[in-house]
Symmetry: C2
Amino acid sequence: MKQSQLFTKTRREAPKDEVSKNAQLLIRAGYVHKEMAGVYSYMPLGLRVMNKIVNIIREEMNAIGGQELHLTALQDRGPWQASGRWDDAIVDNWFKTKLKNGTDLGLGFTHEEPLTAIMKDNIRSFRDLPVYTYQFQTKFRNEARAKSGIMRGREFLMKDLYSFCHDLKEQEAFYEVVKKAYVKIFDRLGLGEKTYVTFASGGSFAKYSHEFQTLTEAGEDTIYIYEGNNTKTIDGYKIAINKDVLNDEVLKDLGIKREDLKEAKAVEVGNIFNLGTRFSDALDLVYKDEKGQPQKVFMGSYGIGPGRVMGTIVETFADEKGIVWPEAVAPFAVHLIALFDVSGKVKAAADKIYADLSAKGVDVLYDDRDETAGTKFSDSDLIGIPTRWVISEKTLAADSIEIKDRKTGKVEMKKVK
Amino acid sequence: MKQSQLFTKTRREAPKDEVSKNAQLLIRAGYVHKEMAGVYSYMPLGLRVMNKIVNIIREEMNAIGGQELHLTALQDRGPWQASGRWDDAIVDNWFKTKLKNGTDLGLGFTHEEPLTAIMKDNIRSFRDLPVYTYQFQTKFRNEARAKSGIMRGREFLMKDLYSFCHDLKEQEAFYEVVKKAYVKIFDRLGLGEKTYVTFASGGSFAKYSHEFQTLTEAGEDTIYIYEGNNTKTIDGYKIAINKDVLNDEVLKDLGIKREDLKEAKAVEVGNIFNLGTRFSDALDLVYKDEKGQPQKVFMGSYGIGPGRVMGTIVETFADEKGIVWPEAVAPFAVHLIALFDVSGKVKAAADKIYADLSAKGVDVLYDDRDETAGTKFSDSDLIGIPTRWVISEKTLAADSIEIKDRKTGKVEMKKVK
């Protein structure tokens, strides 16, 4: 894409009311627009990053047998009353609205209830299970405070996967499958090293659930990382515990000592949860087993917020000059910067490189604007595309282009014809 | 995909409260789930069709220079008060909600206002124009009645394109570009022959706007089609007029006579609209021209509802047995139906064909279920995939598979090794 045609402009200052680093940088670079606290529109650059994150997650959900669907935001009270989650005194972050006839509706903050209701129409016999369904869908949560930029939205995209299984054993086995898939996802997103599979509160049906917590000072959670015997793992995962569940019993369960734990700030980029029969009890979701006897369906739910992931990546890798994207999620692979000369030679050479790279399927942002070198470089640093190719009179004189790595700052000259 | 793994089931009856043919068929075949009137979830089959429609529209939007972005559903009252569209007495189909602190929010029914506000941050000089941006985004409209299935949603996906131009001339030229793109889109979607570029009310800034109206008895609109001299066109388009604007002046403008018009029911599958400076006036969106003088930006908006298109396709092509998808939007290209024998030979042969077709990149739904031939055929007719391949003991005995066209019913035998 030619940068002269990108309608967003970089800016020196973020809005004054924006306190989070991720949103400050993303707004300044033209990735997102702040509509209000916790509500951000995605501009073309931001949508490109979001789509890359979504596609990585989608590939891994499909790889474990997930079927993609798309539920609605508008929610009828029925299934939520059945589960006990309709009342604002129980769930305090509903957005509610009304039909013209006065009927109360909610805006979905999650989708266990409507999906369980859908399964009641489709699951009859043991042959119909297990089922794994997921979606990328906009959630609405009426947060009292939203100061973490795109890491905590009042309106945000979520990937939510739900499993429907014959029994606890099958459910627990799939839970482990998702755990592995999530590890792979965060590895592919560039967050693997800093992300911990973290013991968290399990609710009614399991002693623990697991959160995927990425270390960052911008995180709202506190976790404890085990730093004792560094070969010790549980099920192959490094050990971390959410502060909320840290007590003597947990330490005993995991066979570790409190003094070997280090406190750290982190953000929950994903979670996986055994729901047991909580929702199939409430909504009476049963199947007939081989003997024709009704049995309750066991469920699990598994979330990742692509926007929160995007914010976490910004927080994790940004430097004093701006954003630094990992290759897998960068809006473009190459930022081609032409420092035009009067003769038009640089433009001709840059146009050719742009055409050649594009023909090869490389995603290029081509800075063809009539701006100074200083502006182009500082914009490029702010936008954070992994590799910068610079072409100027000077590089052309050496039959070269200058290639700079955004992350390391390493520069090399590459010969061109 | 193996049909045994598709969690949705076909059903004989649609919900009793569902009166529209499109939703009845789509629910019975497992494409959508009705949450409430005008609010439908998309099941895996439905999402596949939706994505194909979306991708066709996206390709054509990109081809005319559209930049894709994604705005929010939650709307701050500010820009809407500026344009005069916040008040429920003016816009009667808002869904409204509240932040915890009592602040009123709306759920976007369209996005002229917030996008104009975004452009205020980005458009400064004549060099920044024109800009064409579009999105696929969920709209909310609090319709008093919603009886047309997925053709009139209270919550529905919309492609909305907005143009920002230097002046009226440039705006009007882009309007014609979009008109051509829309004709191409509806052609590709299989609706070209039945879709008319229809004169409709133009609002404050143009004498006419244009609706794309597809003939169907399920439509809520009435249009008049010119059937006089059938070589007569306007700008190359056949002539049609929305009932709302039909009067002597229009007839004179178009140079036609009332007796040459035939009344027909139709559904508005798209519309294009010159907005003039309506929103740039209200929100003070200006740019500096070559002389440094401030000038108002001219705008246009252009909508297509992919869900409405999907419903229209169902209404248009369905027969007494079920849905009939055009190839371009079908959830799968081939429905492979195996009528298993005891020996396992049919299964082995069908498995191989499934693997071979999949390896070639053909999207196949493989009915590997343990069901009768009658059930498999009637499900297949209902689901409506364009081509059915049947493999059975009988066809194998002739080293063949039976290939049936869903639309024409034409059957031919094809030799296989």
